[in-house]
């Protein structure tokens, strides 16, 4: 690919020409779904192009974002952490949004859309449980019943969120098939959707899946970057670098989008480096994957030579996924965003540091963005850095306790 091709694709993205009519971001994206789902996908595409863009819908959404979600979220300057890192550090505080993460921006938007197109029931998948909680809350808000699929491994490691979903009226189904994490939960949510595509709405939780989901989710999350850019310009200048964690890629695409046209701003997505670089030890899809088809899209994936999707690992359930949104695959291909990874250990350290320095307990997912930023700051002293703090860490208390007790045992043994 020549630099002219790259510039043309970036320009098309900036001009709102991507995804194209086929749902493609360059070579990535598309609609790889069973025939049974095609009428539902076509109906949703039409709704995204019509209902979603109407003033009435956007006004209703805006009203929910301010009155119920609590937007705009704060931009926090971190002086103590900045001193430590020798950088000017700013956090975009999605942890302060209702239900504790950016997931709610997407959930309430799609719940309103589901209602508008006459769906009578919502299904969703969840990894960390944040999207499940957000969907449960949004469905309660608009008055739709919802079922959330969650891998059995994640049900155990994100228990506080399971209780919250129940309390908010959702049915939670623990998925014991496949890898029993986010990937299997998506498989199961799709199976449910295939069974009744006419009245069931699939409320997907990240910028993944068949067209039009990557577009819809990005548009609903773009508010993060739009706010952050205005807030930065208001109180400082544009940042030198922006960091966000990448699971499926929704908080990152939401934060990046407003900055894509700012040439001087470097953008970094941080994937889960897990415990090592071998297949199965991480979820670093963009760093280690190749193009393939899963969950409705042609995108970067982790799979073996026979096409079987690989099991992944991350201490963070929300990043533990072998695929990534197709728009990120394009942004990597054209070099506009650089994707790096942070290990379990680096991220746990970054979480502790933010607690100690700024009195903020971040989600383990968000801690990956902090870890990536910290490493970059060491090599680029004196820079201004904006970090997407995608969620709060209350849900991670069981994992953090387990990690601490494992460490104690190891120390005692040593």
């Amino acid at each position: 690919m020549t630099s002219m091709d790259r510039d043309a694709l970036l320009q098309a993205l900036l001009d709102g020409e991507l995804p194209d009519a086929q749902g493609r971001f360059g070579p990535f994206g598309g609609r790889y779904v069973p025939e049974t789902l095609m009428p539902a996908i076509n109906r949703l595409t039409e709704a995204v192009e019509t209902i979603f863009t109407t003033q009435a819908f956007q006004r209703a959404l805006q009203s929910e974002l301010t009155g119920w979600v609590g937007r705009p979220t704060a931009l926090t300057r971190c002086d103590r952490l900045g001193l430590q890192w020798n950088a000017e550090v700013w956090l975009k505080r999605e942890d302060l949004a209702h239900t504790g993460a950016h997931k709610i921006n997407n959930a309430i938007g799609q719940a309103l859309l589901a209602k508008a197109i006459g769906a009578t029931r919502v299904v969703a998948e969840t990894g960390a449980g944040q999207h499940g909680v957000a969907t449960a809350a949004a469905c309660a808000r608009v008055g739709l019943p919802c079922t959330v699929y969650m891998g059995a491994v994640d049900v155990a490691r994100q228990a506080p969120n399971v209780d919250r979903m129940h309390r908010l009226g959702a049915e939670v189904v623990s998925v014991t098939s496949g890898d029993r994490t986010l990937r299997a939960a998506i498989d199961e949510a799709i199976r449910d959707w295939v069974t009744d595509p006419k009245s069931t709405y699939y409320l997907i939780g990240s910028a993944i899946g068949p067209h039009p989901y990557p577009l819809l989710v990005r548009n609903l999350q773009a508010v993060i970057g739009q706010e952050a850019r205005v807030q930065m310009l208001d109180r400082a200048e544009l940042p030198d670098a922006v960091f966000a964690c990448v699971g499926g890629g929704s908080n990152s695409i939401g934060l990046f989008h407003a900055f894509l046209g700012d040439e001087e701003v470097q953008l970094f997505g941080v994937e889960a480096g897990g415990t090592g670089s071998a297949l199965g030890q991480n979820s670093a899809t963009l760093a280690a994957g190749r193009p393939g088809v899963l969950h409705g899209a042609n995108t970067m994936l982790l799979y073996d030579d026979d096409g079987q999707i690989q099991e992944t690992h991350s201490v963070s359930a929300g990043l533990d996924y072998p695929g990534v949104g197709p728009e990120h695959a394009l942004l990597q291909m054209i070099g506009r965003v650089k994707y790096v990874s942070a290990s379990d250990t680096e991220s746990l350290d970054a979480l502790d540091e933010l607690c100690a320095m700024e009195g903020i307990l971040p989600a383990l997912e968000s801690a990956h963005a902090l870890a990536g930023a910290r490493r970059w700051a060491q090599r680029n002293p004196g820079t201004r850095i904006l970090i997407g703090l995608s969620g709060r860490g209350d849900k991670d208390m069981p994992i953090l306790a387990e990690v601490a007790s494992r460490k104690e045992n190891n120390d005692a043994a040593a």
């Binding site: 069973p34 025939e35 199976r191 069974t195 006419k198 899963l294 994936l301 026979d306 096409g307 079987q308």
Partner: protein, 253 residues
């Protein structure tokens, strides 16, 4: 004769309705694959061989279970094509491979088309590949005369049904209800109306099924379609170590 025409002819030449039988390759055991194939070939008119995939999102518990075990048994697309090449000439029943797209992507389309044709495969059905995304694979298959079978469902709108039937090769796969494979086995009430619509739209044979497990269902579907597809029920017969040919024979009216 082109490989894809063998499928069409196999159905047309069969005693009505034709039986299209599905098995997951290498399940329950790898060693038993060739024997299972020959047994099924003696009783079926077309055989669909399932390529196991890690994320069978359109399949129910039976095929999820068989896929998972087959992968653990070391079944791959390469292995399947080697096995088929080894028993080429011994099985005259037309063979189709049923696979999700990613194993085909990993194999590489041009090489896949050549190897599949050489192994005696007549075509493919790909549940997560709608017509809109099918051009690259379809083009690769065209070079070898392989079929790409299209699916239609009760929810398919009329204009789309027309397009799918025109583009389908070998036969048209009419899914008899929305949902995943296996499971609940009642036939929908509007079966007659639905299958008549598909038949009217299709220039090639129509085979129907989803969750078929009884002779009564085969008879009812056979009144309106050229062939009946039997999947999960046959996988369960193989799983229990029972005779697949006997089971298939028991489904014939």
């Amino acid at each position: 004769m082109l490989p894809r025409d063998r499928v069409t002819q196999g159905i047309q030449a069969a005693k009505k309705p034709a039986l299209v039988a599905f098995l997951t390759a290498g399940y329950p055991t790898r060693e038993g694959f060739q024997a299972a194939l020959s047994a099924i070939a003696s009783a079926a008119d077309v055989i669909e061989i399932g390529v196991p995939f890690s994320d069978p999102m359109a399949d129910g518990v039976t095929i999820q279970r068989s896929s998972e075990t087959a992968i653990r048994n070391g079944v791959t697309l390469h292995w399947i094509l080697d096995e088929l090449a080894a028993c080429k000439g011994k099985i005259s029943t037309p063979l189709l491979l049923m696979s999700y797209l990613n194993p085909l992507v990993a194999y590489g389309y041009p090489q896949l088309a050549r190897d599949a044709a050489a192994a005696g495969v007549s075509g493919f059905m790909v549940p997560d590949l709608p017509l809109e995304e099918s051009a690259p694979l379809r083009d690769a298959f065209a070079n070898e005369g392989l079929a790409l079978v299209q699916f239609v469902t009760p929810a398919t709108p009329a204009d789309r049904l027309e397009r799918l039937c025109k583009q389908s090769q070998g036969f048209v796969y009419a899914v008899t209800r929305t949902g995943i494979t296996g499971g609940q086995s009642e036939l929908p009430e509007d079966l007659t109306e639905y299958l008549s619509r598909v038949k009217a739209a299709s220039p090639i044979p129509v085979c129907a099924g989803f969750g078929v497990r009884s002779a009564e269902q085969v008879r009812r579907i056979g009144e309106h379609a050229d062939g009946v597809i039997v999947g999960s029920a046959l996988v369960e017969v193989l799983e229990q170590g029972n005779d697949p040919a006997e089971f298939l024979a028991s489904l014939r009216p």
